[in-house]
Symmetry: C2
Subunit: 192 residues, 2 copies
DNA sequence: ATAGTGAAACTAATGGTATTAGTTTTCTGA
DNA sequence: TCAGAAAACTAATACCATTAGTTTCACTAT
């Protein structure tokens, strides 16, 4: 009756990530998860602490994925150092489109308690963007770099978030809009 | 036993908006709403069709509020016409900070069905931003205007969304970052 | 004034959710 | 081999939204 399904924290989170990306973050419940894994909901508590913990782990997975995607984009174009930022931006957006559920988990941190681990990973991401953006700025004043990074993140997140929410449906190419706004923003921060 | 509380669609939505702004959109439930209004949950169905409808109405309220706030910002500075956009941006952000719940309702349209009314109001908002942005653009090509509007909305939504999610906590003034990014973006779209 | 009607409240019940407690089964290592 | 820990289970509790069916109130027309 309990033939020891090979359940495991990693297996559970993999299933949760798949559900999140395929049918939306809000449909990651203990019920759907248990059904997917051929197990009764309470059994999941042997491996995981409850739904909030699962959500936190999804957030961490999303941040890690985003970080890896951008890191990879950076290393692939090390030659043309000053042109790294559009690559970063595209990597960010592509990851979000490929993993909408994990990306969504990355953002809605407001209501939840966030782990130390999550804080850490988020800071790494800021650091990465920061380094990518620095060559574009004439001033090396730390405050200006922070303003520039915040703006860049706002642009990236706003675009992806609006797309994932069903926005930008007019018959104009979204990718082109994305390239346009990145180009404009970069030009803008260089000017001042 | 049923002393005819003066319940009403408007009263219900007012309570829902308050709950949304004060304790988060996710805590707008029929249970909290009924408790707030001193009524049992099923009674609400005499006035409202269910939770999805309440959410849609909150979305509409948010869009209307946003539209009014930006419209007002426009009319208050009609003199310096070419400098309207920073005012629009500030009005947008201020409304979102003042009404975080309604603002959130404005965005998470993805999972829900949206009414014709909502589509309409959203289009009006785009139109308003579009008109505000037009004087800044050298080219009057419609596609470029759309790109510019999308970028502007992305920047606005990204900034407010990240703030509301608890981001941008470093000891650097957020308002200044906001002014920086708006200034940079405007400079960027003028350049090309 | 009062009877009747429709609206607005109610109670009760259903089915979904997370979570806890307590129990059984299975695997493993001594 | 067997004893204990780990991993599944069932049962129960406490929420939630929603529907059905019932009662009560307020108004309107006689």
């Amino acid at each position: 009756m309990s033939p020891r399904v090979g359940l495991d924290d990693a297996v559970i989170m993999q299933a949760a990530a798949t559900i999140a990306d395929e049918t939306g973050l809000q449909s990651v419940t203990l019920a759907t998860l248990a059904k997917q894994l051929n197990v009764r909901p309470p059994s999941l508590y042997n491996h995981v602490n409850g739904l909030p913990e699962i959500r936190n782990k999804l957030t961490l997975l999303g941040l890690q994925g985003l970080h890896e995607a951008m890191q990879e984009a950076l290393s692939k174009q090390k030659q043309s150092d000053s042109d790294a930022v559009p690559g970063l931006a595209i990597a960010y957006a592509q990851y979000a489109m490929k993993h909408p559920g994990l990306y969504e988990a990355t953002i809605n941190i407001n209501t939840r308690e966030h782990t130390e681990e999550i804080q850490q990973k988020a800071a790494e991401l800021v650091e990465l963007v920061s380094n990518g953006l620095r060559p574009y700025l004439s001033s090396a004043v730390e405050a200006e770099i922070i303003h520039a990074v915040r703006g860049f993140r706002s642009l990236l997140h706003g675009y992806t978030s609006l797309i994932l929410s069903g926005g930008f449906n007019m018959a104009i190419d979204r990718d082109e809009s994305f390239r346009y706004m990145i180009r404009a923003y970069i030009a803008g921060i260089q000017k001042s």
